[in-house]
Each structure stands twice: as structure tokens, then as C-alpha cells.
């Protein structure tokens, strides 16, 4: 396990995030068709229900039935939004609303953005001390 300084972590993550946004904006601008921007919104919103539900359920000290239901709803909607971020460009390209190359660019850009958000959460996640 190599120790990486937090500064280089932040620099790397921001570079990857900028690359993802660049890919998506290029996939919109090259064909003058701004529909792939939906992918940015979906992938930026994808970790939100999970985080909100877990923090909302984390107010209880014990794992009660209602809080686990709330956490499950957050997980369900996270899975829903990740797959919808992947399937919206495929769907648009299948019906030739956007170009196939734009589909590939927006897919890779969206995956880069989502991976950045996830690794950012994983890098700076500190479990609570009991």
C-alpha cells in the first residue's frame, strides 16, 4: 500500500473529472446536438440518493427496520441512476438521435465522472472511531 499525499490525490481526481467533462461537452459540440448533457446530470446525481439516505438513516444508533428500508431505497435509486446514465446514450444512438461516436464519447465521459465521484468518496472516507 503506497501512501499517496492528499494533494496529488486531489490533482489526479480533478484532472480525470475535467477529462470526463471535456469528453461529454465534445460529444455534444462536435455534432451540435446537446442531448448527451443529460448524462452529466444523471451521473452527478447518481451518488446523491445513497449518500442522503445513509446520512439520514445514520441518525439512529441502532439499525432499525425503517432506517434499513431507507438505505435500501437509496441503493435502489443509485443502481437505477447508474444504469440509466449508461443506457440513455445507447438508447439515443439506437434511434439515431445522436451519433454513434457521440454515444461512445459521452459513455466514457460519464463513467469517468462517476468513477471520480466514487473514488473521491473512498479516498476521504474515514470510519468513525468507537
Amino acid at each position: 500500500m503506497v501512501q499517496i499525499s492528499p494533494l496529488s490525490k486531489i490533482i489526479t481526481l480533478s484532472t480525470v473529472l475535467a477529462t470526463g467533462f471535456l469528453l461529454i461537452i465534445l460529444s455534444c459540440a462536435l455534432w451540435n446536438n446537446w442531448l448527451p448533457l443529460i448524462v452529466v446530470a444523471v451521473f452527478c446525481l447518481a451518488p446523491a440518493p445513497n449518500a442522503i439516505c445513509q446520512s439520514w438513516a445514520g441518525q439512529d444508533d441502532f439499525m432499525s427496520e425503517s432506517s434499513s428500508t431507507v438505505v435500501d431505497f437509496g441503493r435502489f435509486s443509485t443502481g437505477f441512476m447508474v444504469v440509466s446514465g449508461l443506457s440513455i446514450p445507447v438508447m439515443l444512438a439506437h434511434n439515431s438521435i445522436i451519433n454513434t461516436a457521440a454515444m461512445w464519447m459521452s459513455l466514457s465521459g460519464g463513467l469517468l465522472i462517476y468513477a471520480t465521484i466514487i473514488t473521491f468518496g473512498a479516498f476521504f472516507y474515514e470510519p468513525e472511531e468507537f
Partner: protein, 183 residues
């Protein structure tokens, strides 16, 4: 004479005689994976249907279009059924199905009726999607790109059903596990 050795891959506690090696997850993360996969499958089904609707409005060569009345109604039924099934309180359902005495038996029929309604909506969505495929697309004799809209409808409702089953099973894994811990 010594008793024969029991091989490693045979666990007497598991359901099957042979456990799959390398597939051991703690039940809490198994539950998380199940719920994530349930959301993913639901999303796949929904976008299959939306894809059929976009195909109908953008690339359609025929005069058949995806409308709300026959085409989106099965998905509506399936979603109502999934909501109802997953909103039933699990503890009351356990007491209703096993005849436990934690609630009075006068309230047990409510949980049973609500669960029956949910499953009826789910099965009705599946059945009505097949009915739409047969009556609207197959019987008039349309060929494949038009028939694909009806097939997408069936795929959509089947995946909503699979997603509901996965969610149900994943939520019951942890309950049994914590129940066996509490004993």
C-alpha cells in the same frame, strides 16, 4: 477404522450440497448487491420501453405507434404492484403468514389482502404486456422492426417483475440472518 474425511466444499448448513467456491459474501453486503442489482434491472426494463417509444416516434417505418393506452399501461400496473409489494411491513407479513401472535389475528387479513393485490397487479402487468404484444403487434402480422416494440414491452414488464423478486429476496436475506443471530 477411521471415518472418511468430509471434503471442504461440502457444507451441511447450506441449501445445496456443493457450495460454489469463491462466492462467499457476508449477508449484509449480499443484501446491498441484491438491492443495487434490483435497481439496475428495473432501469434496464424502463429504458427498453422508452427505447421502443423513441423508436416509434423517430425511426418508425410503419403506421403503428406506441401510445399510452395499450403500450404504457402494463408498465403502470407492474410499477403499482412493485410499490404495493415492497411497502408492506415485513414484520406484519411474517406474523400474518406464519400465524404468529405478535398482532391480533383480526389484522392479519389486511396484510394478506394487500400482498395479494400487489402480486395481482404485478402478474396483471406481465399478462397485459403479453396481451398487447399478441393483439396489437402479432395478430395483425407486423414484421420484426414493428414487432420489436411489443417485444420491448414484454421485456420491460418481465424485468420489473425480476427486479421486484430480487428486492424481496434481498430484503429477506438479512432478516433471516439477524434472526439466526438473535437465537
Amino acid at each position: 477404522m477411521s471415518c472418511p474425511e468430509i471434503p471442504i466444499w461440502i457444507h451441511s448448513e447450506s441449501l445445496f450440497r456443493i457450495a460454489i467456491p469463491g462466492f462467499k459474501l457476508p449477508p449484509s453486503s449480499l443484501r446491498a448487491v441484491g438491492v443495487y442489482a434490483s435497481g439496475a434491472i428495473f432501469s434496464l426494463g424502463f429504458y427498453a420501453m422508452l427505447d421502443a417509444a423513441l423508436y416509434s416516434s423517430h425511426k418508425n417505418g410503419s403506421t403503428v405507434h406506441v401510445r399510452f393506452f395499450p403500450d404504457w399501461l402494463p408498465l403502470l400496473f407492474s410499477c403499482i404492484g412493485m410499490l404495493v409489494i415492497n411497502l408492506v411491513e415485513k414484520a406484519r407479513l411474517q406474523s400474518a403468514l406464519t400465524g404468529g401472535s405478535s398482532f391480533s389475528s383480526g389484522e392479519d387479513w389486511q396484510a394478506k389482502v394487500v400482498l395479494f393485490l400487489g402480486f395481482a397487479f404485478l402478474a396483471g402487468g406481465m399478462a397485459s404486456s403479453i396481451a398487447v404484444l399478441v393483439l396489437k403487434y402479432a395478430l395483425p402480422g407486423y414484421s420484426m422492426p414493428t414487432l420489436g416494440m411489443g417485444v420491448a414491452n414484454v421485456i420491460c414488464n418481465a424485468s420489473v417483475m425480476v427486479s421486484c423478486v430480487l428486492l424481496w429476496v434481498a430484503q429477506n436475506i438479512e432478516d433471516e440472518y439477524s434472526y439466526s443471530l438473535s437465537l
